[in-house]
């Protein structure tokens, strides 16, 4: 057994060292994820705000495009809930002329931070509780969902959702 005491001590030291290494690697990995997440989330917010700002600059509804007089019936005169989305001939973002044209719109945007997938949902909401409804109202809500393949929770991509509620009378 002469000399084995030192070997056993060294083996113990190696086990402790391995544990330190594992913890250190975890910390470095976490730091790197924090850096990347922060930078990409900044881009996610910008892209979401970009779509919302753009949609806000359009008319509230197809029936209010280029008109000075309000529709005869409010809100019954607005586009039915089942027909929200791009109108005939509106194939790109350039063609959209009202707020709900963005409903169902999907795009993959390439930026300095990689590719981001954007999905938009527009629907009518209740005037009291702002919940989704299937009839016309003077409130429309836009939900912009942004996903990046580099922003993940476990194996699944993380979903970022930005929302905005627009009122016909507040335009």
């Amino acid at each position: 057994m002469i000399g084995y005491t030192e070997v056993i001590q060294v083996m113990g030291a190696m086990i402790i060292f391995s544990m330190i290494m594992l913890n250190a690697n975890q910390m470095i990995h976490r730091n790197t994820i924090l850096q990347i997440d922060g930078e990409l989330e900044q881009e996610v917010i910008s892209l979401g705000q970009e779509i919302i700002e753009e949609a806000r600059s359009k008319s509230f509804d197809q029936v209010t495009v280029n008109t000075t007089a309000p529709p005869t019936l409010i809100p019954e005169g607005f586009t039915p809930a089942g027909q929200l989305g791009a109108d005939a001939g509106e194939n790109t973002r350039y063609d959209f002329n009202d707020f709900d044209d963005y409903d169902g719109w999907e795009q993959v945007v390439t930026t300095a931070h990689g590719e981001f997938s954007i999905n938009v949902d527009v629907f009518y909401v209740d005037e009291v509780n702002f919940e989704r409804i299937n009839t016309q109202s003077t409130f429309k809500k836009i939900e912009v969902t942004v996903i990046s393949e580099f922003l993940r929770s476990g194996d699944e991509p993380r979903t970022y959702q930005l929302e905005f509620i627009r009122n016909y009378y507040a335009d």
């Binding site: 070997v7 060294v10 030291a13 330190i20 250190a24 924090l34 850096q35 806000r56 973002r93 300095a112």
Partner: protein
């Protein structure tokens, strides 16, 4: 001295070197994270003002009387933009002219990172042209690129040509701004090598409501 003891010393030496390397890596990683956070907070501070200024351009501007001064947008250049807006939201106050200018050709004499340039925000009296407020932002900005669009939603590479000077301001509907801030200090992998500056890039396409009425 027996073989076991010698082997132990050798292994202990490796472990000591390993611990030192891990320590250096941890230090590099932590300092990189700290510098990243500082850089990003600079970006956040600048974009907060930009978000307010650009989105609200044209607010409380009487476009009838301001027509001779270029209505809302006064100047569109790749590194300079100026516009009119009542930045105080005060009905007793009048619209001011706000200018953002990136001094891309002027090297900052005391900057540790030679790519750093100043971004200047100036508020002018719209009648007399007197400077009311001037803020020189010197927090490591290395890029401030402005693109202009005549149609909303166009791809970034289809922007309007913007080298025509301050008179050509028609048809601008969207403004895309790209900002890059770099750290003054370099970070090094394992404390050796060339090192690199930490970058934080922000870009956003603005659709000012008053340019789209």
């Amino acid at each position: 001295m027996n073989l076991g003891l010698i082997t132990s010393y050798i292994i202990a030496g490796f472990i000591f070197i390993g611990i030192s390397m891990v320590n250096i890596s941890l230090q590099s990683s932590s300092s990189e994270l700290a510098i990243t956070q500082i850089t990003r907070s600079h970006v956040s501070n600048i974009t907060e003002i930009l978000n307010d200024d650009i989105s609200n351009m044209g607010y409380d501007v009487d476009q009838t009387t301001m027509e001779t001064k270029g209505v809302i947008l006064d100047c569109k250049l790749p590194h300079r933009i100026s516009f009119y807006s009542n930045i105080y939201g005060d009905p007793d106050s009048t619209a001011r002219k706000i200018e953002w200018r990136f001094l891309k050709d002027e090297v900052l004499p005391d900057a540790k990172n030679e790519q750093h340039r100043a971004l200047v925000r100036t508020v002018y009296d719209s009648d007399s042209g007197a400077v009311l407020d001037k803020t020189e932002i010197k927090v490591g900005i290395t890029k401030f690129q402005i693109r202009y669009f005549d149609t909303v939603g166009k791809p970034v590479d289809e922007s309007l040509p913007s080298g025509g000077g301050c008179s050509d301001i028609t048809d601008v509907k969207q403004i895309h701004i790209e900002l890059e801030v770099q750290s003054p200090e370099k970070v090094y992998n394992r404390a050796v090598g060339e090192g690199r500056y930490i970058r934080s890039v922000w870009d956003k396409r603005f659709t000012p409501i008053n340019l789209n009425l």
